[in-house]
Symmetry: C2
Subunit: 161 residues, 2 copies
Amino acid sequence: MTQEKAFQDYYEETTGSVCYGCGRLNEQGLQIKSYWEGDVAVCRFQPQPYHTAFPGYVYGGLIASLIDCHSTGTAAAAAYRAEGRQMDSDPPLRYVTASLHVDYLKPTPIEGQLTVRATVAEIQGRRTTVKSELYAGDQLTARGNVLCVRVPDSWIKNNAG
Amino acid sequence: MTQEKAFQDYYEETTGSVCYGCGRLNEQGLQIKSYWEGDVAVCRFQPQPYHTAFPGYVYGGLIASLIDCHSTGTAAAAAYRAEGRQMDSDPPLRYVTASLHVDYLKPTPIEGQLTVRATVAEIQGRRTTVKSELYAGDQLTARGNVLCVRVPDSWIKNNAG
C-alpha cells in the first residue's frame, strides 16, 4: 500500500507549496501534512526539543501554526469533496486564514507526537469554518476555530510575490 | 544611552527564557523582544525569507507567534507596572496564553520589518487581556486579542520540565 498524498502536496508553487508551516518546498519549514480519516482531517506532528515554551512544554505559536495550516488544508480538501472532485483536478481550490482562534486548555507536553483532528463546521460560499482539537498522546490540550476564505482564482494563477 | 532590557530578558530559566518565540536562551528561536513606548508595548521583528506563506507574504503562524509572545510579555510587564515594581524585583510575574485570537485583515508583505503594538485592555485578578495590531510598514495587516493568565508562583520555582 502506498501512502496517499497529503492535502498540502497538491499546492502549487504560486500558493502554499512554499509555506513555512506546510509547504513541501520549504526546506526550513515545518512541512505539516494533513489526511482524511473518514470525515475527520488528521495532522500528526513531532515537535522538536527547541519548540519549547516553558521547559517540557510546546510553545503556543507552534500549536497555532499547526491548527492554522491544517485548517486551511482541510477547508481546501473539503471544497473538493463538496464538488465531488479529486484534489489534482482543475480549477485549484485554495484557502487562506481570515481569523484564527485557539483555546489553550492546558500545557502541551513536548516529548510525544501531537495530533490535530479537524472537522468542517460550516461552508458558506467561499467561507469555511474549521474546528479542531489538538492532542498530546490522548490528552486534549488545545482547541482551534479557524475561518478560512477561498482565494480568488486570479491569485493562484498570477501571484508570484 | 544603553538599550533598555526587553520584557523577555527578565524571564528565568524555569520559564520563558527557553521559549522558541521569545526566549533569549533559545538559539533556534525567534528571540522576539518587547519594550514599552509610553503605554504601548512594541515589538519589532524582521521576518526571514523562509517565513513565507504564499510567495511574498508572511505565513500566519509567525504572525500568531509574534502576537502570542508579545502579549504574554506585555501582560507581565503591565503587572509589574500595576504593582509599581521593576521587572527584576521579586516575586516574578509570568503569564501564559489561555486564548489567542488573530484577525488577518490582509496579506502581510514579507520584505520589511513588522511591528506589533499592544495595549492592555483589561486586568482582572490573574487574567489580563491584551489587544494588539500588527503592521508591515505603516499597513495594518492583522489584529490580535489574547487572554493571558498569570502562572502560579510554585510553577516558576519548581517547573523543570
